[in-house]
Symmetry: C2
Subunit: 328 residues, 2 copies
């Protein structure tokens, strides 16, 4: 039985979902919902309707899985609990500190409506979380480290653009090689924020702007840059468009732990991602877990779930017997 997918919000992530759907033989795009005027939104799939978000409940029965593609700051805290009563859905809520509260709100709605709602799915939270959990469960005596990058941080790029005199800005988070090597050696080093990541900024300044002031304002910005070593490069708008238009990202989850009579043996588990397109990879993860959410719901599962609750076999279109034969 094919899974009919609705996309809510047609930005980078929504477009990534649309691309990923072309690789999923057991899923099909049924509708896109948008806050914009639907007539102004052109999607890749010809013949698939675009509706205004206000009409979404009228199309409840046409959708097996609603994929929420909004932001974690204001969209998802409101939308996910609101729609979890009416749809089996999935979101990528990524404000780590607020996950417990988000879970409770979504669980109440999903339980009330008899739905499954899978939250905080992507690569972090998501695949990285899974790897933190597996590694800690397998090696209880040890230390887990997460590194991000090299990749574009949207939040930090936005922060640069808010500095007076800045026309455009792009920030790359870069894991520091020496820290990675120390962690990989199994030595379980204590690392400060500054020792783990470097922040590299590319900035287009207004003509005549005081570059020294801009660089200083960036480097001393609290929360965003002050606790890091930050490098600032001034470039032209042409260079920005030519060299920095992609959205690459990635990172590492590494755990080292000890076993043995005297804890004399060291083991290192490492999971890493190198991604050309952050939103497209996130979309690919969401689609696999969306498949799992629908299966869980069809089997009678109810309520809010996370990646931790999903048996891995549910992610694949292959049968359990095929998976055991081919991949075990």
């Amino acid at each position: 039985m094919s899974i009919k997918v609705g996309i809510l919000g047609y930005g980078n992530l929504g477009r990534g979902i649309e691309c990923a759907l072309k690789q999923a033989e057991d899923m099909e795009l049924a509708a896109v919902f948008t806050r914009r005027d639907p007539k102004t939104v052109t999607i890749l799939h010809s013949g698939v309707p675009v509706y205004h978000i206000d009409d979404i409940l009228n199309h409840k029965d046409e959708i097996d899985l609603l994929i929420l593609c909004g932001g974690s700051a204001t969209d998802l805290p409101k939308q996910t609990p609101e729609y979890a009563e009416h749809f089996t859905l999935i979101d990528s809520f990524d404000t780590h500190a607020n996950i417990p509260a988000h879970f409770d709100a979504v669980d109440a709605a999903a339980q009330k409506g008899g739905r499954v709602a899978l939250i905080s799915c992507g690569w972090d939270p998501g695949m990285f979380s899974l790897n933190r959990l597996y590694a800690e469960a397998v090696l209880p005596k040890g230390n887990t480290y997460t590194f991000w990058g090299k990749g574009v941080s949207q939040g930090h790029s936005d922060a640069i653009r808010r500095v007076e005199g800045v026309v455009d800005g792009r920030q790359y988070t870069i894991p520091i090689a020496e820290a990675l090597e120390a962690v990989r050696s199994g030595s379980a080093p204590a690392l400060t924020t500054r020792q783990k990541h470097l922040r590299e900024c590319f900035v287009v300044a207004e003509e005549g702007a005081d570059k020294e002031r801009i660089e200083n304002e960036i480097k001393t910005m609290p929360n965003y840059f002050a606790d890091y070593d930050t490098v600032v490069h001034f470039i032209t708008l042409e260079e920005m468009q030519r060299d920095h238009s992609g959205i690459p990202h990635g990172g590492f989850v590494i755990r080292s732990g000890k076993t043995g009579r005297q804890q004399e043996n060291t083991h290192v588990i490492e999971y890493s991602l190198k991604l050309d397109s952050n939103p497209e990879f996130t979309a690919s993860v969401i689609l696999a877990f969306g498949r799992a959410a629908v299966r869980l719901w069809r089997e009678g599962g109810r309520g809010c779930k996370t990646v931790f609750d999903i048996p891995p076999a549910y992610l694949s279109p292959k049968s359990a017997a095929q998976l055991r034969k081919e991949l075990l």
Copy 2:
């Protein structure tokens, strides 16, 4: 409720389980079962009984989880189906080609007895299988590669020791760096057996033995060495004992895949292990999944399971809320 563990078979893996149990606060060793005379077996846990395997069914009610530590060639194909009717259990059956048949035999027994039996758990099959599954589900258009090593292969070491004139032998499987790099680049290379792994052998020869003949017999041995580039070093017994007494292992699961409108973006997912002790790490994986098997059984789960069927949260002694707060 603490999980009472029985160990069946007290070799390297059984001893690894015993060490790992000291790190699991929610589990305790209840008994060791052996084919040897129990009086000749001394275990780490003082005060824990050692019984003969023939008495195992008399101790059924003292065991929540039976961990089978025998070999895949002859022990497990017989023992796992035999005991799955009476115990919630876990094994590390690793003959990939025979997993479907083993599953069917174990499932019938576990269903009959109303038990959960988790088979083929360790790192390959086990953690590597999980990573093959997750990566393929997330990136359906792509290629998965598994590399093993650097590590000791017991089977190949045994094969060396069967050559006439050999006193002792140790074989290391080594992934070839150029192949790893080609895979990591996302270029999805076609690789032959010879291009993926090198086999490095350390051999102690009898005094006066024909080393040229020994080296030639090893390098041309079908199935084991003939399809690989093999390096043979002759060393002394003292060097063997001093430098090659450990059982390190490890390896890599790497998948590269494409996304985007024109499949223009490449993503690389890599999982790797670097292990000082193969049996102790395997034991640590088994213990985490053993915890999950007992939970599943207590919740009403029945039949044969694999790592693919286990929700990751079941592996950890932490509560679901704690996992969401700390690791998601």
